[in-house]
């Protein structure tokens, strides 16, 4: 049953010709080999009759490690902040970029502040969930699945893909950029998604013979991992082909730089990941749900400079991304939303950092946004028994508005229940 692909023509010279090894990807792409990805050939770009027909796009930015909400959206008037954080509070309050009398943004969120001034930023205060977990991994899973009871296994965006889009015939609909493995939020056994760590390396260095050979190798693979392997390979071949076209037509129209002061644990090059995200959006590859990650937010020690650097890094990448989308005329379609597994403890520790906390604000950015402050700040006077902020708004209220208001999906179908309404989307897409 071996597919007729002339595989017997693959031989030693195909490898020796590949020669340059690293960086040969671009050369391979330039050679213009045009494979038809057989597994998806029938279905690609096919029927989305059951799917959402609008062109709206969601980009989730994970701030991994637990972002300190009290250093992101700073309560300017609360005297308790200085008592709890003698090292961390002083400068940040003085330098904050005021949003209102009560609150100010971290001084390094300059681009985001400029967008706020244009009414394109929503800040939702006091986000969390009942009985918070202080474990990174457990809380990440809760946010990814949208289920504080820990029963759900599929990601909330994965379920959205499976229920609202034809991702199976079009694997770039859901895409994780700048990572080597699939983020939990996008995972669903009934959805396919693409993972692209680095677009320059995302292609088969050996050229057509090799791509054809592996296309044939990863078919009907037996065993419990068989379908995963086959789907991953078919998805890769399909996405590689799509990207080959988009790389030819995309010109970044903003300054993406990852040369910011090196931030500890920023293994994910956020600017590069967002540039790839922009490319996928503006070249019409059909992407809808994207996910990128910036790490390093687990600031248990010397948080002052570390967190300021992270804020600058985030701001620079997001600012460039927004400008790029805007210059390409795509900014009206794209919602950018940050998320993090938890906030941090109001009281600082001996290491000049903060331990794992609970509630924190979320920042949502883009032309679809109706700017302003939403939710409610928990305040520093009424902490819970663990000394943490009490959440005021369930994080699924944010998901609900993203799903229903922005994407036009049925949030109740995906989240399993209705939550308090947060109306931060300017022109709600659907009827939900």
């Amino acid at each position: 049953m071996t597919e007729e692909i002339g595989i017997n023509q693959l031989r030693r010279r195909d490898f020796l010709r590949a020669g340059l090894v690293f960086g040969a990807g671009a050369a391979g792409l330039a050679a213009g080999y045009a494979a038809v990805p057989d597994a998806f050939a029938r279905a690609v770009y096919a029927a989305k009759t059951n799917g959402l027909a609008n062109e709206r796009v969601l980009v989730m930015i994970q701030l991994a490690g637990g972002n300190d909400g009290l250093r992101t959206v700073i309560p300017l008037q609360d005297p308790r902040l200085h008592d709890l954080r003698p090292k961390l509070a002083a400068l940040s309050v003085g330098q904050a970029l005021p949003l209102s009398d009560e609150f100010g943004l971290n001084q390094n969120l300059k681009s985001i502040k400029a967008l706020w001034d244009q009414g394109k930023v929503a800040i939702v205060e006091g986000i969390g969930y009942p009985n918070p977990s202080f474990s990174h991994f457990e809380s990440i899973r809760i946010w990814e699945t949208g289920d504080p009871t820990r029963r759900q296994v599929d990601g909330w965006l994965g379920r959205t893909l499976a229920q609202n889009y034809d991702s199976f015939g079009h694997p770039l609909t859901g895409c994780a950029c700048g990572t080597t493995d699939a983020p939990g939020a996008l995972r669903d056994l009934q959805a396919t998604l693409t993972v692209i760590n680095n677009q320059k390396a995302f292609g088969f260095t050996g050229g057509g013979q090799i791509e054809a050979a592996v296309g044939a190798l990863y078919k009907a693979t037996p065993g419990i991992y068989g379908a995963l392997f086959d789907t991953a390979m078919a998805t890769a071949r399909e996405s590689v082909t799509t990207l080959r076209t988009s790389q030819a037509t995309y010109q970044p129209m903003a300054d993406y730089t990852d040369s910011q002061r090196l931030v500890y644990s920023s293994k994910n090059q956020l600017a590069a990941a967002l540039q790839l995200t922009s490319e996928l959006i503006v070249t019409g590859t059909g992407v809808k749900l994207l996910h990128v990650t910036l790490g390093g937010f687990d600031t248990h020690y010397t948080e002052l400079t570390r967190h300021d650097d992270l804020m600058a890094y985030l701001d620079s990448a997001v600012g460039a991304f927004y400008n790029d989308l805007s210059a390409h005329g795509m900014a009206d379609k794209v919602l950018i939303a940050t998320w993090s597994e938890f906030g941090r403890r109001p009281k600082e520790n001996a290491s000049g950092g903060t331990d794992h906390g609970a509630a924190a604000p979320l920042i949502l950015i883009g032309n679809p946004i109706k700017g302003g402050l939403y939710g409610q700040s928990p305040g520093l006077t009424d902490l819970d028994s663990t000394g943490n902020l009490k959440y005021q708004v369930d994080f699924r209220s944010v998901y609900q508005e993203i799903l229903g208001g922005h994407l036009g999906a049925d949030p109740k179908e995906i989240l399993g229940a209705a939550f308090d309404k947060l109306a931060f989307i300017k022109d709600p897409a659907g009827s939900f």
Binding site: F15, L16, I210, A227, L228, D298
Partner: protein, 497 residues
């Protein structure tokens, strides 16, 4: 769905199908593969294994399962070496087969680890007082490729992912991250109590999880939490109060004091001189009593006591959950991604009654029927490091270790740089559209560097001769040895262990 091939097995065990992590996807994936629906396997070219398979039954559920060859001693030995070393050359396999499975287990467990060459002598470390992380990574990869005791390296890699630290936070101005690697090699088969005491005072860990800057008066909870959650017990077996009490009780450790300091000119042009620590030998943390908690008794894991580090560790190990936690992790790394709780309980109980002796646990695992059960065959996915080192070993190309070092980031496993404090994920997390491309490109890169390769007839031996129909067909029609090796090493079969 049509069934091609000649293996006639009506259906697989029902409970296995239900356990499959990809059962729903299996159906979809099979449909995606163009309806070919090849649900059975054909044995490829390896006569000895072909004979074995006469008596092996396939569990043909959904798209079919691998035909396990583990009924034969030879295949069991190959399975053992694939999972506990970096794969065996044909001559190494022949030797182990003639020793037999049981004696091979003894040899793995009882041979003292061959120490790696000292990095101090070969690295620039002594010159500019700064580790070069690329040199460090390649030093370890080279040792994996050349060592006479690869099991020690597999265990070191396992512990590196468990008691993990990364060079970014630990830094490269001290040898701490290098020492940690030496430590887990030395301690790989010791006991949990010694390991928990050691990880608590390990200089790299003191930095990585901030215990080195914590105080009893104003504790940093980072280490205490991860000790309970990730190193010893797991979520659900402790509360937030335990995290806090642990943080207070463990405070007081600081980084080891250097033997002396030296001034190093780091920027001659601007005359910038920095003081660097010099350690004549590896050290562990220093306990500073006035940084410790002085509040007396507190409750930790349900018992009131005046806790210090030893008492914290002993209280943790008094929990039955501790033994099962480590046993489960070992099983997911060495046996199968999903196993029966009763198996983990059994191993945990043996582990605990051996006073948490890791060698005892590993022996129990390797000689257990579950380890060589048919459903454990190809039930694990090779990590990128395992895949790359096994590829280079199979091609007898240790000189290309630099390719492995350079390719690691694209596959998601950079040594000394885990993604987070949870270490690396395993099994299905290693399969994505990104990683299949990266793995194929690694094989292409290696083969493009080799003018000559071992005989192509050796290639199927690295797959036990058990291959899917697609792989078999391609291998049978491959034009030359380069193509044959490419197909074998890039195949899904080779990604599994």
């Amino acid at each position: 769905m049509s069934i091609a091939g000649s293996v006639d097995e009506p259906s697989g065990p029902a409970e296995k199908k239900a356990r499959s992590p990809v059962s729903r996807r299996t159906v979809l994936g099979a449909a995606a593969a163009g309806g070919a629906g090849i649900a059975a396997l054909r044995v490829f070219v390896y006569p000895r294994v072909e004979q074995l398979l006469q008596s092996t039954r396939a569990a043909a559920s959904g798209r079919g399962d691998w035909i396990s060859p583990l009924g034969s001693e030879r295949a069991r030995v190959a399975h053992l070496l694939r999972r506990t070393t970096f794969g065996a050359r044909l001559d190494e396999l022949e030797k182990a087969v003639s020793d037999g499975y049981s004696k091979t287990v003894d040899r793995l467990l009882e041979t003292r680890p061959a120490p790696p060459p000292s990095l101090d002598a070969s690295n620039d470390f002594l010159h500019d007082r700064r580790l070069n992380v690329g040199v460090l990574q390649q030093w370890w990869l080279d040792h994996m490729l050349s060592t006479s005791t690869p099991f020690a390296e597999r265990m070191t890699l396992f512990w590196h992912g468990h008691f993990t630290s990364d060079y970014r936070k630990v830094g490269l101005q001290t040898p701490y991250i290098y020492w940690q690697n030496l430590t887990w090699r030395d301690m790989a088969l010791t006991d949990m109590r010694s390991m928990l005491m050691r990880v608590t005072t390990d200089p790299a860990m003191l930095r990585y999880l901030d215990l080195g800057t914590s105080t009893g008066q104003n504790p940093n909870e980072n280490y205490s939490r991860e000790l309970l959650e990730l190193f010893a017990l797991g979520v659900g077996h402790y509360g937030e109060d335990d995290v806090r009490a642990g943080a207070r009780a463990l405070a007081g450790w600081t980084e080891p004091r250097p033997t002396r300091t030296v001034d190093v000119t780091v920027d001659a042009k601007n005359n910038v001189v920095r003081k660097y620590a010099v350690y004549d030998e590896p050290a562990t943390g220093t306990f500073v009593a006035n940084r410790a908690y002085k509040g007396g008794q507190q409750t930790f894991l349900g018992r009131k006591d005046t806790y210090d580090t030893e008492k914290v560790v002993d209280r943790i190990l008094a929990q039955p959950a501790a033994a099962e936690f480590i046993a489960r992790k070992v099983v997911q790394h060495f046996v199968a991604a999903r196993v029966d709780d009763s198996y983990v309980k059994r191993l945990g109980s043996k582990f605990r009654s051996s006073k948490y002796d890791v060698k005892t646990l590993m022996r129990e695992v390797l000689v257990s029927p579950e380890f060589v059960a048919d459903h454990s065959y190809r039930a694990l996915v090779k990590s990128p490091t395992e895949f790359m080192v096994q590829t280079l070993k199979a091609l007898q190309a240790p000189q290309l270790s630099r390719l492995a070092q350079l390719s690691a980031p694209g596959m998601g496993q950079v040594l000394f740089d885990p993604p987070d404090v949870g270490g690396w994920p395993n099994n299905e997390a290693w399969i994505s559209s990104n990683s299949v491309v990266a793995r194929v490109n690694f094989v292409t890169a290696v083969l493009s560097q080799l003018k000559t390769v071992p005989p192509g007839t050796d290639a199927p031996h690295h797959l036990d001769g058990v291959v899917g129909q697609q792989t078999a067909g391609l291998l049978n029609t491959a034009a030359d040895d380069h193509a044959r090796w490419f197909l074998a090493l890039a195949s899904p079969e080779f990604q599994l262990k």
